[in-house]
């Protein structure tokens, strides 16, 4: 029987899909190096917009904020999410309800979560700022870290914990030499995922940042600038953020392939 799929046709469709996905991004990258700075005409290669970008104190301040939020919320979400994943896995037989509520923040729309968090902070009369963004990012990152670590734990052979004890190891040595090394790739993958999500998160940060310039993050800054048209600096900024995100995500994917480092 002849195959229904025509290989040449399949290749064309595939190319079209990739073109659709990546041409806009390529354009952005190209324009970030456009000397003239206009999206309509190419006047020559230059990195001057990157220079402009680094001299813009508004953008640099926002970048610093974003970095603080991403790093702190990633650390918190990774520690809590890993513990949560272990706890849920141990109590797995108690039903799937727990699982559903843990993963809810992953599924519900960001805007809903943003409004909910805003209402919550207002209700408690919390003064909003970077710390409220951090807490909010922990809320949804927790779910992502937990799901990545849980995927790993599903195949975790708990008998190795007993084996380590049987061979004479105290619990703390077992955790350090057996449990952590086996789980580490998933924990790092979860942390990298959380970091990238936090890095370019806009809606929730926008709602929970409070007033004032002090707690503006990078996506918020870009949004503010874009209202006056896309400047070449934004292209340069977007290109950097893109690159960082892609590298981290690729790293995370690699680690989370289910294998261990060195295999």
């Amino acid at each position: 029987m002849r195959s229904i799929a025509n290989p040449r046709l399949m290749l064309m469709i595939l190319s079209a899909v990739f073109a659709f996905l990546y041409i806009p991004i390529s354009v952005l990258f190209a324009l970030s190096f456009n000397e003239g700075g206009l999206p309509t005409a190419w006047t020559g290669f230059s990195v001057k917009w990157y220079g402009e970008l680094f001299r813009n104190s508004d953008i640099m301040g926002a970048a610093l904020n974003t970095l603080i939020v991403a790093v702190v919320s990633t650390i918190l979400a990774t520690v809590l999410g890993t513990l949560l994943a272990v706890g849920v896995e141990i109590r797995r037989r108690k039903g799937r309800f727990l699982e559903t509520i843990i993963f809810a923040p992953m599924i519900i729309p960001d805007i809903v979560l943003a409004i909910a968090l805003l209402s919550f902070f207002s209700l408690l009369n919390v003064v909003m700022g970077l710390h409220t963004i951090i807490v909010s990012h922990v809320v949804f990152n927790l779910a992502f870290v937990c799901s990545v670590v849980r995927a790993r734990l599903k195949t975790f052979d708990w008998s190795i914990v007993e084996a380590s004890t049987d061979l004479g190891a105290p619990m703390i040595v077992t955790l350090w030499r057996v449990v952590l090394p086996v789980m580490l790739p998933a924990v790092i993958a979860g942390a990298l995922l959380a970091f990238t999500l936090s890095l370019d998160e806009f809606i929730i940060a926008f709602f929970t940042a409070g007033a004032g310039r002090d707690s503006i993050t990078l996506p918020m800054q870009i949004y503010a600038m874009i209202r006056f048209g896309i400047t070449p600096e934004i292209n340069a900024l977007a290109a950097i953020v893109m690159t960082v995100s892609v590298v981290i995500l690729a790293l995370s994917q690699r680690l989370n392939r289910g294998g261990l480092p060195g295999q």
Partner: protein, 351 residues
């Protein structure tokens, strides 16, 4: 009588309302190869985990070298367990896996290396020392798991269904290999298995467990030839059962034929007479005789299995004829045949 290495006294373990271990007394001697045999749910694994220290008994004592170890945690007992799943550390090489237990004893590096190399020779995996567990075959992983437990030179080595995951051919080889290693190291082995053949082949003594109780304990020969209960008789090997009524010491089968045995039912009444398939004879020698119709024959190489339907028993009677006996009297389905066996080979159990 020597002081036993291990003495289990009235051990009990409950999981909620379930009595997993219900009062077990057992003595195990130094250098013994001992098998705990039972179906799933018999409590054999719980008992093993209790010896390893992963379960604490609710009652009774476990004495090792005359010391009560009942409540000593697993990492402080001179006992090692070879896990059914092998439980090898996936991120460590074969050599690192084996060295782990010695590192916990804080031995000097040179000594650890020497002992790891030595045990790698014993299990013949010297050239795979740098491999990770997922680069090994099932049989190789099994040997690494054994080496990792053995290298600590425990007083007692526990093996939880050690051959369960291997295919049949490999299992046969490993049974002999385990016996060889046990003799070579002079370490007491306790093996848990549901495979009665495995228990009979390897062990010096076998204990049959059922519902958390010890049913019978003895050499493989005793267990096979002198089962003390109907369950034990049925569980080990193949056994033919004839329901009988005991009236004044005369055993009568359901079709009225009389079965003679060395023993009768102590209290009279209902029971079963039992005989092993290989004790049934076609040459007319024996105190007992039943007549039946051949329903099927199956050739096994060494012997011929014949199934007979007889009014004396509800289930088909199984007979195992040696190649010689089968050739002397060829049988085919539909033949009517009378088989004999001696009173000596008849076991009687009350209902």
């Amino acid at each position: 009588m020597n002081q036993p290495l291990l003495s289990i006294r009235g051990a009990q373990k409950h999981f909620g309302p379930v009595r997993a271990i219900d009062g077990i007394d057992l003595d195990i001697q130094e250098n013994e190869f001992f098998a705990l045999l039972g179906a799933s749910g018999s409590g054999k694994t719980t008992l093993l985990r209790m010896l390893a220290g992963f379960e604490m008994p609710d009652g009774g004592q476990i004495l090792l070298d005359n010391q009560d170890v009942s409540h000593i945690p697993p990492n402080k007992r001179p006992v090692n367990l070879m896990f059914q799943s092998y439980a090898l550390f996936p991120h460590m090489s074969v050599a690192q896996n084996i060295a782990y237990g010695l590192e916990m004893e804080k031995l000097p590096k040179a000594q650890i290396k020497a002992r790891v190399d030595e045990i790698l020779q014993v299990i013949q995996l010297g050239d795979l020392a740098r491999r990770k567990p997922d680069q090994l075959s099932g049989g190789q992983r099994q040997r690494v798991a054994l080496a990792r437990a053995l290298v600590k030179r425990p007083r007692l080595l526990l093996l939880d269904e050690p051959l369960g995951a291997l295919d049949k051919k490999l299992r046969g080889d490993m049974q002999l290999e385990l016996k060889r290693i046990q003799l070579e190291f002079g370490i007491t082995f306790i093996i848990v298995t549901h495979d009665q053949e495995e228990a009979l082949v390897m062990a010096d003594r076998v204990a049959i467990l059922k519902d958390g109780k010890l049913l019978q304990c003895g050499t493989p020969h005793q267990i096979y030839e002198q089962p003390e209960s109907r369950f034990a008789a049925d569980f080990i090997g193949v056994m033919n059962f004839f329901p009988v009524t005991d009236v004044a010491g005369i055993l009568t089968a359901q079709d009225g034929s009389v079965i003679t045995a060395d023993r009768t039912l102590t209290k009279g009444g209902q029971g079963v007479a039992a005989v092993r398939p290989e004790r049934l004879r076609l040459d007319g020698v024996g105190d007992n005789a039943i007549t039946g119709t051949v329903t099927a024959t199956a050739y096994h190489g060494l012997d011929l299995q014949v199934h007979l339907r007889t009014p004396a028993a509800p289930d088909p009677v199984v007979m195992r004829l040696t190649a010689d006996a089968a050739e002397a009297r060829p049988l085919a389905a539909g033949d009517t045949v009378t088989v004999h066996w001696s009173a000596r080979d008849t076991r009687v159990f009350a209902d």
